[in-house]
Subunit: 159 residues, 2 copies
């Protein structure tokens, strides 16, 4: 409750009080930094933030239905349609309408899609590597574990 008589001129001296304990702000700031790092790491490519996780998940679950994929990654149907369509156009994903339920769409990677994933897999996995952000390996693991609880609400298997 120390209101400064003279307003701070330097961002590092600004008091944000209990905002230091706000998950809402801290998650947003961490996310913004992640976003920045993403575009540095993937500059020159036309890989977008949401695409790697989609390709990765389809690779591990070939034939997954678009709706199931969307529920796993929290991608809403309307957005999934556009995101998938772009990856189909790029030649990375194949769509198949299965005979047992012709409303649905099953997804799998093309050979080109697998190649694309392999080329960028390491870059993606190393995003926000511990060394870059001043965390020890133990802190990094702890952070992942806690974020999984937030992200999956305890419903997801987290080995």
């Amino acid at each position: 409750m120390n209101i400064p008589l003279v307003p701070p001129e330097d961002p590092s001296t600004v008091d944000i009080g209990q905002l230091n304990n706000s998950l809402a702000l801290l998650l947003r700031l961490a996310q913004v930094r992640m976003y920045d790092q993403f575009f540095v790491a993937f500059s020159g490519t036309d890989v977008r933030p949401g695409e790697m996780t989609v390709l990765w998940t389809i690779d591990l679950n070939p034939g997954i239905k678009q709706g199931v994929l969307g529920r796993v990654l929290s991608i809403k149907p309307a957005h999934a349609t556009k995101l998938i369509q772009r990856l189909v156009d790029a030649g990375f994903i194949e769509r198949r309408v299965p005979p047992e339920d012709r409303r649905s769409v099953r997804l799998s990677l093309t050979a080109e899609g697998r190649g694309h994933l392999e080329r960028h897999r390491e870059t993606f996995q190393n995003l926000y590597a511990a060394a870059d952000i001043g965390l020890t390996e133990a802190e990094h693991r702890a952070l992942l574990k806690l974020l999984r609880k937030l992200a999956f609400d305890g419903a997801q298997a987290c080995p």
Copy 2:
């Protein structure tokens, strides 16, 4: 590396492999859930995600320059202009062009702005409260501490 012979029909049985250790995905999913909780908590109001932190910070640092505020909260100038303008229009913020540098804008809360902040402060601070997300108090504190390192890159004072 256990590619299922039959694709999973249930999101909870989908294997996401090393995506479980991806800060990029986990931060996004946690952020999406935060977003959801924000709109539940603030439904019926017209408070937007970015506004509370802005009002909060101006309250603690009256007379702060718009650029300094933006650098603290990672809000780019173009977005800051629109966000602040909306809060001025709502009657929550006063803008003042100081004589010592007439390029800049200094911000402070109106009485109405302070009232608005007080009315919503607790709701905002309780967003993603520990109990709601299956974290113990200790885990919650640990998560905040780790996120501060990501969010502020070690540059910010974190008591």
